[in-house]
C-alpha cells in the first residue's frame, strides 16, 4: 500500500498550509456538489425509467452549471413582513458549518486542514450549527409553511443527535482516538465490518439529520410546499441548496472516513480511493431516496427514540465489553460476533416495535 504521509504543515509554513487547504476544500466542495447534483438527477432518472437532464453538454453534464448561472441572475425576493436581516443571514449560517466539517476530513495520509485531537466531536458540534441556520430561514420568512418545516428540522435534529453520537462512540472505542487521521490509521479492516450495527444506526440517523429521503419532512413538497426554502429565491436559495448537498457530501465523507477505511485501499492512489468511496456512499443515499417512501413526523420521532436510541446504547455496551474482555484479540474475530449481534437485535426490535400504529400527532 503506497501510503504517503504529508508533513503536518505541508507545503511550508502555517499560513501556506491554511491557504492551500482552504482553497482545496472550497473547490472540492463546489465541484463535487455540482457533480453530485448531476449524478443524482441522472441516477434517479435511470432508476425511474426517465431520461433526466440530457441537453446541456454530453449526457447533460453542464446542467448544474446552467442551473447555478440561472440562480445567480434571478431576482432576490424578500418577504415584506419578514425579518430581513435574519433572512439574509440564514443561508450563510447554514452553509459555513458544512464547509467547516471538511477541515478535519483527511483526503490522503496527512492531507487535511487540521488534525484535531477532538476531530469526531468537532464534526458533531459544528454540524449541529446548521440547524440554527435552517431555523433562522424558517422563522424570518414569515410564512407558516417555512416555520413548520423549520420546526420539523429542529425536532429531528434534537432527537437524532443522540443515536448518531452514541453510534459513533463504538468507532472511537475501537480506534482509541477522536482524531480522524488516527481513526483511518487504526482501520486495518474497515470498521463497517467490525461495527455493522453502528454503521446502520449512524447512517439512518445521519440521513434524518440532513433531511434526505426518506426523512425529508422539512421540505415535504406534498405537505408544506418546500418547507424553510419556500420564501427563498436567487442565490440565497442557491446557498441553502448548496448547504444541503454539502451536508450529504459531508456525511458521505464522514462515513467513508469512520467506517470504510478512509483513503486506504490497494493499487490506486489514496485520494482517488477516498473520492471513489465518497461517491459510492452518495450513490447509496440516492438509491435509498428512490426506493423508500417518506415517513410521517410521528414515525420519525418513534424511529429515533424507540428503535435507534436503545440499539445505539446496546451497541455501545457490546463494543465496550468486547474491548475490555478481549483487548488483544484480532479484529477479524469480532466481525462474525458483531454481525450476529446486529442481526439478532434488528430482528428482535422490529418484532417489538411497529412503525405506523398509534396516534398521529403532527
Amino acid at each position: 500500500m503506497a501510503t504517503q504521509f504529508l508533513p503536518p504543515d505541508w507545503p511550508g509554513n502555517f499560513w501556506a498550509h491554511w491557504a492551500v487547504f482552504t482553497v482545496i476544500i472550497l473547490v472540492f466542495l463546489l465541484l463535487t456538489v455540482m457533480a453530485f447534483i448531476w449524478f443524482e438527477r441522472r441516477a434517479m432518472a435511470i432508476m425511474q425509467s426517465r431520461l433526466g437532464p440530457n441537453r446541456a453538454g454530453p449526457f447533460g453534464i453542464f446542467q448544474p452549471a446552467a442551473d447555478a448561472l440561472k440562480l445567480l441572475i434571478k431576482e432576490d425576493v424578500v418577504p415584506a413582513a419578514g425579518d430581513k436581516v435574519v433572512h439574509w443571514l440564514a443561508p450563510v449560517v447554514a452553509f459555513v458549518p458544512v464547509m467547516m466539517v471538511f477541515a478535519v476530513v483527511p483526503f490522503q495520509g496527512g492531507a487535511l486542514l487540521a488534525d484535531l485531537n477532538v476531530g469526531v466531536l468537532y464534526i458533531v458540534a459544528i454540524s449541529s450549527l446548521t440547524a440554527v441556520g435552517i431555523f433562522m430561514a424558517g422563522w424570518s420568512s414569515n410564512n407558516k409553511y417555512s416555520l413548520l418545516g423549520a420546526m420539523r428540522q429542529v425536532a429531528s435534529v434534537v432527537s437524532y443527535e443522540i443515536p448518531v453520537v452514541l453510534s459513533l462512540i463504538g468507532v472511537i472505542l475501537l480506534a482509541g482516538s477522536l482524531s480522524l487521521q488516527q481513526i483511518v490509521q487504526a482501520q486495518e479492516i474497515p470498521f463497517i465490518l467490525v461495527q455493522p450495527l453502528g454503521f446502520l444506526l449512524f447512517f439512518c440517523g445521519a440521513l434524518a439529520e440532513i433531511n434526505r429521503a426518506p426523512f425529508d419532512l422539512t421540505e415535504a413538497d406534498s405537505e408544506i410546499v418546500a418547507g424553510f426554502l419556500t420564501e427563498y429565491s436567487g442565490m440565497k436559495f442557491g446557498l441553502l441548496f448548496l448547504a444541503e448537498y454539502g451536508e450529504a457530501l459531508a456525511i458521505s465523507a464522514i462515513v467513508t472516513t469512520l467506517f470504510l477505511g478512509g483513503w486506504r485501499g490497494p493499487l490506486l492512489p489514496d485520494w482517488l480511493w477516498f473520492l471513489l468511496k465518497v461517491g459510492a456512499v452518495f450513490f447509496f443515499i440516492v438509491w435509498i431516496r428512490t426506493t423508500v417512501p417518506r415517513v410521517r413526523i410521528d414515525q420519525l420521532m418513534a424511529l429515533a427514540w424507540k428503535f435507534l436510541f436503545p440499539l445505539a446504547l446496546i451497541n455501545l455496551l457490546v463494543t465496550a465489553v468486547e474491548i475490555l474482555v478481549w483487548p488483544d484479540v484480532s479484529l477479524w474475530l469480532l466481525v462474525p460476533v458483531n454481525f450476529a449481534v446486529m442481526i439478532v437485535l434488528v430482528l428482535l426490535w422490529s418484532k417489538l416495535f411497529k412503525l405506523g400504529w398509534g396516534r398521529v400527532n403532527v
Binding site: 425579518d83 436581516v85 435574519v86 484535531l116 485531537n117 477532538v118 466531536l121 468537532y122 458533531v124 458540534a125 459544528i126 449541529s128 450549527l129 440547524a131 440554527v132 431555523f135 433562522m136 422563522w139 416555520l147 420546526m151 429542529v154 435534529v157 434534537v158 443527535e161 482516538s177 477522536l178 482524531s179
Partner: protein, 162 residues
C-alpha cells in the same frame, strides 16, 4: 501577538452579543445573539488550549440549549415585541452594575496563579483519565446522570395524560 488579537476580537464580539441579548426587543434576535455569545466564549476557550471544552461548549450550548431556547420562544406570543420595557429597568441596571463592580473588584484583587508548564497535548486522554480513572471524579460523573435521569422521568410524569 496573534492570540492577543484573537482574544480582543472574541471579547468584543462576546460582550456586544451579550448586551444585544438583554437590549434587543425582538426575542428571536436576542436568542440568536445568545448563540453568537456562546460561539465567542467557545473561541476564547480555544485560545486557552482547551479544545475539548470549546467543542463541548458548541455542542451543548449552541447545538442543544440554544435550539431549545428558540423552540421555547416559538411557543410564546408577540415574539417581535416580546421583551417590553417596564418599571424594573432602573433597579435591574443598578443590580447589574453592582454585580459588575463586585466581579471587577474580585478580578483585580485575586492573586492569579500562572502555570509555567506548557499546556497538555493531546487533551482528551488526560480528561478521560481524570473523569473515569482511579482517584478521579468518577463519583460526580455517575451522580450527574442519575440526577438528569430523575429530571427526565419527572418531566415525562408531569406531561403524561391521565
Amino acid at each position: 501577538m496573534g492570540l492577543d488579537v484573537a482574544f480582543w476580537i472574541l471579547a468584543v464580539v462576546g460582550v456586544t452579543a451579550a448586551l444585544a441579548v438583554v437590549l434587543l426587543g425582538d426575542v428571536f434576535r436576542a436568542a440568536l445573539s445568545l448563540v453568537l455569545c456562546f460561539l465567542a466564549v467557545a473561541g476564547i476557550y480555544l485560545t486557552l488550549n482547551a479544545d475539548f471544552l470549546a467543542v463541548v461548549q458548541i455542542l451543548v450550548y449552541v447545538g442543544a440549549i440554544s435550539v431549545l431556547i428558540i423552540l421555547a420562544i416559538m411557543l410564546t406570543r408577540e415574539v417581535q415585541r416580546g421583551s417590553p420595557s417596564n418599571r424594573l429597568r432602573i433597579p435591574a441596571l443598578f443590580v447589574a452594575a453592582l454585580f459588575l463592580v463586585v466581579v471587577i473588584y474580585a478580578l483585580l484583587n485575586t492573586n492569579w496563579q500562572i502555570s509555567s508548564v506548557p499546556p497538555l497535548e493531546p487533551t482528551t486522554p488526560a480528561i478521560a483519565g481524570l473523569l473515569f480513572g482511579e482517584g478521579g471524579f468518577i463519583l460526580p460523573v455517575e451522580i450527574a446522570p442519575i440526577l438528569l435521569l430523575a429530571a427526565i422521568i419527572g418531566a415525562i410524569v408531569l406531561v403524561r395524560e391521565k
